[in-house]
Symmetry: C2
Subunit: 600 residues, 2 copies
């Protein structure tokens, strides 16, 4: 950038050179426009994948492989670029042969440091919205007209019976519902299969005191944001009601009270046989595309402690915990110190139970208020909204930072958090509570993305631990369980009426094994994490979450989920990919990683 050149002019200049190089098929020229260690994250447009190319060589290899098919064009800076600390940032739009896209770039010294390209819509298969919205009625006189209600009723009666859906989504929580809305707007006939009776029940059935731990601006569903008086933290039942309402007004074909029994793929026919139980009868659905949207986790994991069969008290997993009212006055041992373990220990204390938390491994703890101020404020907050950061922009900005650069932003953040809350952490550590900020100091969000476990956003339990109200046994494991007690590896013994396994969940691959087959589970491999190499997320480095929102090693099988932000944002890409398969649009996938070995 010259002395007189505005950031916008700089960005426009760079984009013009980039566009020219790509149009000329000049890979070397294109990669020469990047810094020495660049990152290009592509969501479908170039790679038909969710893919980060790291370094010039990877970028060059990708372009060489795909440029001829992709035929990118119509690159244009959108709005004004900005410059902060020498980095120029800009938004842009572009097109490919079959799609339209939106992206974000960061320039450092005139060359591109991070590039994000994302697909927004498929040409010829745009959502019917805005000026293209439907009329709602055929004006004029039409004999034999069917009203909206009659069409809807007929659709619900026929789909899955007389007419097979193009897509089936297993799991009707926020992920399945968000994806269902996206697919409907793309005209893909979809059935959502959910074991609970009503949309929202998966939240209603959680423990009584649960509220969302992420703030409202992070949690919007696609197309219909929460109204502006929605509370910062949504109580579980209120969220359940919203999901129920959303599924209704988005006209989703939601099969509640329907149990998914299993699925198998017929490659020759290009369809799945999906067996469900509904109204007491088994039924086979035959969609071309199948999505697991059952959550980030697999089955609840109970630890098989020696002597467990001798225990005369109550044993349960946090997944089945409802309320401390059931355990008032009882001696409760909560084994595990993640989110559920903390929430439930606090709920037990509020109901005058005698609570001890057993911390088996170090935990990342961040105070909710601190995380709101320091973690969320930039992208997902009232202030961000006031600064003009829409939910869509926040999602794209979040996506524009590759996993490899996470330490760069997260380590300083957690150093700041440690400073700001030093007294809090001191009090907590003084109890013997084992704290960490991640093996490499990258903190809570990185931990969640790597292992989906081992952290707690503090909304009150930590003070109870610090004050000794929730008792703590740390740095020990369970040796064995007695008739009415638990003995630890340090020889100590505690009486116990209730043992609660806050021991997390298995991984999605167990569900795939049980509900599709061991062969498919092996073929698809490990889920979640991105190869950071820390405990629970072994290498090699992948740089993207395994198997999430992208093609897997099982044809026509997709996995959707994650927190509300990820469910919202990535539902778009899952829906677009499904649409392309159904429309027969060629989608040569670039850079699909080998399946990582399943956890042992």
């Amino acid at each position: 950038m010259t002395a007189t050149e505005t950031p916008t002019a700089e960005a426009e200049g760079w984009l013009a050179r980039f566009s020219a190089a790509l149009s000329a098929g000049d890979v070397a020229a294109a990669t020469g426009l990047f810094v020495d260690e660049p990152f290009w994250r592509d969501l479908l447009t170039f790679t038909w994948n969710v893919k980060t190319l790291e370094g010039r060589d990877e970028i060059a290899a990708m372009l060489a492989a795909v440029l001829g098919n992709v035929r990118p064009a119509a690159w244009a800076i959108d709005g004004e670029a900005t410059q902060t600390d020498g980095i120029t940032e800009a938004w842009f739009t572009f097109e490919t042969a079959v799609a339209r896209g939106r992206g974000h770039l960061r320039l450092d010294g005139g060359r591109c440091w991070t590039l994000l390209t994302t697909m927004t819509e498929l040409k010829g298969h745009e959502e019917l919205k805005g000026p293209r919205r439907t009329q709602g009625v055929r004006h004029g006189a039409v004999k034999g007209r069917r009203t909206w209600l009659e069409e809807r009723t007929a659709e619900q009666a026929e789909l899955g019976h007389g007419r097979q859906p193009a897509c089936v989504i297993i799991g009707g929580g926020q992920g399945g519902i968000a994806l269902g809305a996206r697919l409907r707007r793309l005209g893909v006939e979809t059935i959502i299969v959910e074991r609970n009776a009503r949309p929202g029940d998966s939240w209603r059935n959680r423990y009584r005191s649960l509220v969302l731990h992420d703030p409202v601006w992070y949690d919007h569903l696609p197309y219909l944001p929460f109204p502006d008086d929605w509370p910062v933290f949504t109580p579980k039942d209120k969220f359940g009601d919203w999901l129920e309402m959303y599924a209704r007004v988005m006209e989703l074909n939601y099969w509640g009270g329907t149990e998914f029994l299993g699925a198998s793929y017929d490659a020759a026919a290009g369809e799945w046989a999906v067996t469900v139980r509904r109204d007491g009868a088994e039924l086979v659905l035959r969609p071309q595309q199948l999505v697991f949207a059952t959550g980030a986790y697999g089955y609840p994991r109970m630890i098989d402690f020696p002597g467990a069969d001798d225990f005369t008290g109550t044993t349960l997993h946090t997944a089945d915990y409802q309320s401390g009212e059931d355990f008032r006055g009882q001696r409760c041992i909560v084994i595990g110190s993640g989110s559920s373990g903390h929430d439930i220990a606090a709920d037990l204390w509020e109901h005058d139970a005698d609570v001890t938390m057993v911390q088996r491994a170090s935990t990342i703890v961040v105070r909710s208020e601190t995380l709101m101020e320091l973690g969320f404020a930039e992208l997902y907050s009232e202030q961000a909204v006031e600064r003009g950061i829409t939910t869509e922009m926040a999602d794209l900005l979040f996506a524009s930072m590759p996993f490899r650069l996470m330490p760069m932003t997260q380590v300083p953040l957690y150093e700041e958090i440690a400073r700001v809350d030093a007294p809090f952490y001191e009090r907590l550590k003084a109890t013997g509570f084992r704290l960490d900020f991640g093996e490499d100091g990258t903190g809570l969000m990185a931990k969640a993305l790597r292992t989906a476990s081992g952290y707690y956003i503090d909304v009150g339990a930590s003070d109870l631990i610090a004050d000794g109200e929730i008792k703590l046994k740390s740095g020990v494991g369970v040796e064995h369980i007695g008739e009415r007690s638990v003995t630890f590896t340090d020889g100590s013994e505690l009486p116990a009426d209730v043992i609660i396994h806050a021991t997390g969940y298995g991984s999605m691959d167990e569900m795939v094994e049980r509900l599709i087959s061991p062969e498919v589970a092996d073929r698809v491999g490990r889920f979640w994490g991105y190869g950071s190499g820390i405990e629970g997320d072994p290498g090699p480095w992948e740089g993207e979450l395994r198997n999430m929102w992208k093609p897997t090693h099982q044809e026509a099988l997709w996995f959707h989920g994650g927190n509300l932000h990820l469910s919202r944002h990535y539902s778009l890409y899952v829906a677009l990919q499904i649409k392309t398969r159904l429309e027969g649009i060629p989608t040569p996938v670039y850079g699909m990683p080998a399946a990582a070995p399943r956890p042992s």
Copy 2:
């Protein structure tokens, strides 16, 4: 405006002089800033009324009466002013002693032609939204905590039983629901009483083929607009579903299946006794404030034709019509040529009934497509949205044009409509159909506001009439009814199996008489219309809709309703007025008209 002065500078200058005059209490100086024939429409801020002051004298009288109490201040132009055809337009904000406001002005030759001042919120009683939204949970450990669900459940159990609501709304259609949402956000405990079981039923129960006649941009409810793929014209059942979900997520206390039996006011106690029947039992609610939100109309009006008792066929009012399926192949006479008459005649034709429409009076007909392009496009359309006209802005712009100026905008519009659709009108008139564009040429919307009758937005019936598919008898009345026929005043007789009274509804005052008392009905007087002097809306001129959304001659009794635009916009002012009464904020009402005599 000087040659070099921008519209914004002109508007700022005018506003500064206006502000200075008001602050100095200099009424003469303030009124001198207006043109010779100005209009100032105030929604609460100055007059605690919905009031148009017409002319300098009325403005001066109002200011002299209220200025000392209102203490307006902090006037500021908001955004950039624009200039078109010599008229400068600008938005502004301001404050009063107790409220904040927003307004719009039009300057002509440097002086004010139209001024709109509206209340947006009460100081100290702001809605809990945005940065002031609730947390949703009390973080920290709290024994005896009640979850959201427990609070909601308790509220629903107690309100109306152990604890009386501050406000009761009779009628749970879109008006009652919109108002209920506004009141909840102002912290006013409210019960909505609705005879039908579920929110939305008042729409579900309408005739099968009904869709909204106004386009989506006109129809949004407050706080939660329809998503951007919502159809242009909403089918009745889809709208019913939206209302049901809206009532749920807005946490309204909605008493469905509850019949309102009557109410009486105890002025000494400052409360109403509202008798309802719910779950088979009578119950008395004791709110301080009562709102009728039962719709723009009173009871269905059947005409008592001579010989009606002899008729052996089926007789019904359009309010009870469901579907032409019930009348397939039968000879149907539809008496009346308004919206319902046309819709139902078309529905009968679609079901192969033999239909004759009896047109007793001239009708205003406009084609839906034409009305969309020429009538709605400026404020409520996709194009308006793209031009940056939000729903709130559209509502305020609509409100900024006083009734007195309606001919100025509407007459040319209808001349254009007549030109554009001349062939259509020729074909229709050739059948003998009696068309008009209002006594003074002001067209459909003016007619709706004056009499709420006598018009049809054509969505297909007119072509059927023009083509003779729907037969027409026009310019005659019904002489008498035979056993299976109808004889007209011209001596002709038609066989009939079904007689449908598309004869409209009575006026709200009948409901007030029956459900409160004749005394209160007489005291409150006539509803709707604004004194235009045309048939159905006798003078004297009032310039505002009688009794709607503003204080009435019965203390603590309000009337809310109108189409979806009016329900949405004016629900704000009804809610604010109710809040002020409950908070004991003084609200000296200026310029309340005498009650107009009830229709005979």
